[in-house]
Amino acid sequence: MDAPQQKKRKTSHNLTAESVVQRSSLPRSLRFDKDLNVPAYNHIPNKKLRAQLSRNATQSARAKALLDDAEMLLTEEPGLMQPENDLERTWRVDQTDIEHGAGQDAGRGRREWKLDGGPYRSRYTRNGRHLAIVGSMGHVATFDWKTGTLHSELQLQETCRDITFLHDHSHFAVAQKKYVFIYDRDGVELHCLKAHVEPTRMEFLPYHWLLATIGNAGYLKYQDTSTGQLLTEHRTKLGASSAMAQNLHNAVINLGHQNGCVTLWTPNLPHPAVQLLAHLGPVTSISVDPSTGGRYMATAGRDSTVKVWDCRNWKGAIREWSARGGAAEVEWSARGALAVASGGSVNVYTSPTIQQPIHGSTQPPLYLTHPIPHRPLVSVRFAPFEDPNFDSSEADPFENRKARREKEVKALLDKIQPDMITIDPDFVGSLVEPSKLSITTTSSDGKAAETIPFARLPRLERLRAQGKADEMEVDTDDAAPDAQKLTKEEKERKKMRGKGKSSKRHLRKQLKKVIEPTSIAIRAKVEKQREERKAREKEAAGEKPKKRSALDRFASG
């Protein structure tokens, strides 16, 4: 850790100058803009534009430099296990060793609850402070897992399949036997979403305020939790699904189906954006890697394989191996560690190796393993912000009541419209492609080309640019020989209706009237080509060109 810090210190700027720059204007010689490597816009003649561009460039370069400095402020170092010699293996370390080795405070973070009532599924809030669990027999509990404060505990007395918090711990949704129900923090039932029938899995998109559910009927439904409206429902046509994950970075919903397909969905497309056959059997679990901006996806299927996919290139998994103990549960942590729960243990693999493409189906090197004597393992979740440093403006594990309320309002104001969900989230703020409707012309004498905007084109050119101009009609000469061969009925059938319309007449006249140097040149060229073709045809027919006589010199041309 020492080496990179030294390097950083080298790159940081004159500290004395920086300390006073907030309060005063520095002389030009002391300003650290000089070593920012800002491009000089000397080639731009417009002074105002030049100043604006260089100001923008300086600003962004300075922001970048400050960003480098800000990394030094992250005081809390990431947690990890490092073997001290070649014989040590991280996966040999078990939980009690970690508990002893990590110190008292960190050791207290490890909890274990033994509950009856079927396999449980769990979910953390975005800030990682609160945990919700639901048992398949209908036991629901939400609590602050650090302090052990119980918010609510319900016995719903019916099958429950999934649970998720909404924007924060003040609301949570439970996928129950027939419908999705929304409860508040104290466990009071607020809403029954009857549009979501027999739900199996749920995901909440926090920046769009959307609750997405998939049910046994195979309908993916989006419900806007800020307005209460059912936004869209997509028919997947792939039957029931029991695997669902969201990509945190583009809010795309990944679904795994019974036939082994994985599909990617956005609310504004009625069909999947991506569909791939991932497994030979039902897909049991999906997770998307948040540490690389949603670049990798892990899937596990009933065929007892775990596969890691590159979301930029779907041609085959980059890594696959078989998990012992059948169908697995996969989950990716915020720092890029992949947990695979299968059989009786949870295996954790770390980041660089699981993303390296490899031929064959060998298991990646194991980082950590934890056997659990209870089966089946149906849900595995990483607690957010136990490892990376958090940002209080996004999600704060230590926020108080007032901060939570304020954040709720701010998040509502910043709610992103659902039709902005796409596979590539970077399209916001990028440049629009130039319109294809404008026409670039070169004048005949080879002068500079000028671009005529669509609005300034003459009518015929506009129609042509739109693809609406009827170019067929003008070539009446070419069409004529064919017409002679047609019978009467055919003629009647193929009669060109609407040819004499006033607009068509106008266009035809327009085309003939305008005499432009380019059109003259083109006509001459076409004429020449036609003559050549005729000559060639004659030659092919056997007519030899006449011998030149003495009088030919008087013929023109």
């Binding site: 947690g79 073997p83 970690i98 940002d391 704060d396 108080n400 989230p425 970077d426």
Partner: protein
């Protein structure tokens, strides 16, 4: 085995004592901020909408004139004192902050009051079509029927008056420009261009080169004079006549003309062949214009019953103000603090507007100020986004103005198409397109 575990230190993340703010911690890793751009765009859109929502520019209207308000003038060195003259011959000195009248002269002139101005000493001068210039003391508000301090009579009706920046002299415009001394009853000198037979509409002293004088006339001319040489220096004949002129307070060579052809023009007086910028937006003749004291903005009022505020150098999409009851705007004024705009119209009212429509008057707290500045920079950054830009640009105008603008657009487009066709069917190189800026000036005379 080395085992490290990240621990969030409670001391660092919780307030030290009850009542302390909770410490913020930042992680600038972009992966920690998904949808940062999309969220910022949403914020920008909200900021643009809020700006339109809060845009309530009208503050008050000052009554008192019986007939249309023809001219207004602000007192130099004062933020609140403004004089207005009307077609009924009355002159009122308003106090803007108190919205009261400091001085009301019901019959200052017989007929229309065609010009008012203040001297540096605070003396008020008014001229009228009754061929007199009268000077008043704005402080004698107690008297029921205030009398002029001095009366200067001329030979023909006066159209405009302006006072010298420092000297006790003033200039009037009738069929010629006359320079008067405050202490003498006859004009000191007559300035006229040799071949001129025009009526001078308006005359203004340059604000920093104080002996330079500019006038506009009814025969479509703009003339420069120097009172030291006592001669007209240069003259420009334009396509259409101008209604008002204003010197820039920050660029001494820049002059602004409000033209009859619906446009405003800024000229650099060192180059008269073309205006430096054309300001297009009004849909009828522009009747008046005035620079903000910062020189970055100016206001114009037009025959189309709108007041428009322009950014210097930006020739399109000005801020538009209008009300149901406001008639033709014949005089406009920027106040000396550049925060307010005044308009005097044919309905006899002087109206006060904010220069920045959505500005909040009154005390603004630091947090609020920070939020406003953040919103402004968001708007600036996202203005080229389609939806945000549309909200920022859209202005509601009365139906007649909207229709007139539509008609004007159609006519100009038709004209352009016709010209283009003509050019296409003439011999190549015979007729060349003329730049819009080169079309204005007909001839330049020295």
């Amino acid at each position: 085995m080395k085992i490290k575990v990240l621990q969030h230190d409670l001391v660092a993340h919780l307030p030290q004592r009850p009542g302390d703010p909770t410490p913020m911690s930042r992680n600038l890793n972009p992966l920690m901020h998904p949808f940062a751009k999309a969220r910022e765009r949403t914020r920008a859109l909200n900021a643009a909408k809020m700006d339109r929502m809060f845009s309530k520019p009208f503050i008050d209207s000052l009554e008192g004139h019986v007939d249309a308000v023809e001219v207004m003038a602000k007192q130099p060195g004062s933020l609140t004192t403004v004089a207005s003259g009307s077609w009924d011959g009355g002159v009122i000195v308003h106090h803007l902050a108190r919205r009261s009248q400091l001085l009301h002269i019901p019959q200052a002139h017989a007929g229309k009051v065609s010009g008012v101005c203040f001297s540096r000493q605070g003396r008020l001068f008014s001229c009228g079509v009754d061929r007199t210039v009268k000077s008043w003391n704005p402080d004698d508000s107690q008297t029921e029927n205030p009398q002029p301090v001095a009366v200067f009579s001329g030979k023909s009706a006066f159209n405009s008056i302006d006072h010298h920046n420092s000297d006790p002299t003033f200039a009037t415009a009738s069929n010629l420009v006359q320079i008067w001394d405050e202490t003498k009853s006859l004009p000191v000198s007559n300035l006229t261009f040799p071949t001129s037979t025009e009526t001078i509409n308006s005359v203004r002293f340059n604000l920093s080169e104080t002996s330079v004088l500019a006038s506009i006339g009814s025969d479509r001319t703009f003339t420069l004079y120097d009172i030291r040489t006592g001669k007209a220096e240069r003259r420009v004949v334009m396509q259409m006549s101008s209604n008002s002129l204003s010197w820039s307070p920050t660029f001494p060579t820049t002059v602004l003309l409000a033209s009859e052809d619906h446009n405003l023009y800024t000229f650099d007086i060192r180059r008269f062949d073309a205006p430096t910028q054309i300001y297009k937006g009004h849909v009828a003749a522009v009747m008046s214009c005035d620079w903000a004291p910062t020189g970055l903005e100016f206001v114009s009022g037009g025959w189309d019953r709108t007041v428009r505020i322009w950014k210097e150098g930006r020739g399109h999409s000005p801020e538009v103000y209008h009300t149901k009851r406001m008639h033709r705007v014949s005089s406009t004024l920027f106040t000396s603090d550049a925060r307010f705009v005044l308009s005097g119209s044919d309905d006899g009212n002087v109206r006060i507007w904010k220069a920045n429509a959505s500005e909040r008057l009154g005390i603004v707290t630091t947090r609020e100020r920070a939020a406003i500045e953040y919103r402004d920079s968001l708007k600036q950054r996202w203005k080229s986004d389609g939806e945000v830009g549309r909200v920022i640009r859209s202005r509601h105008v009365p139906r007649p103005v909207h229709q007139a603008a539509k008609l004007k657009r159609t006519m100009l487009e038709a004209q352009r198409v016709k010209e283009e066709r003509r050019r296409k069917h003439t011999r190549a190189g015979e007729s060349k397109p003329k730049a819009e800026r080169k079309k204005l000036v007909v001839v330049e005379q020295a």
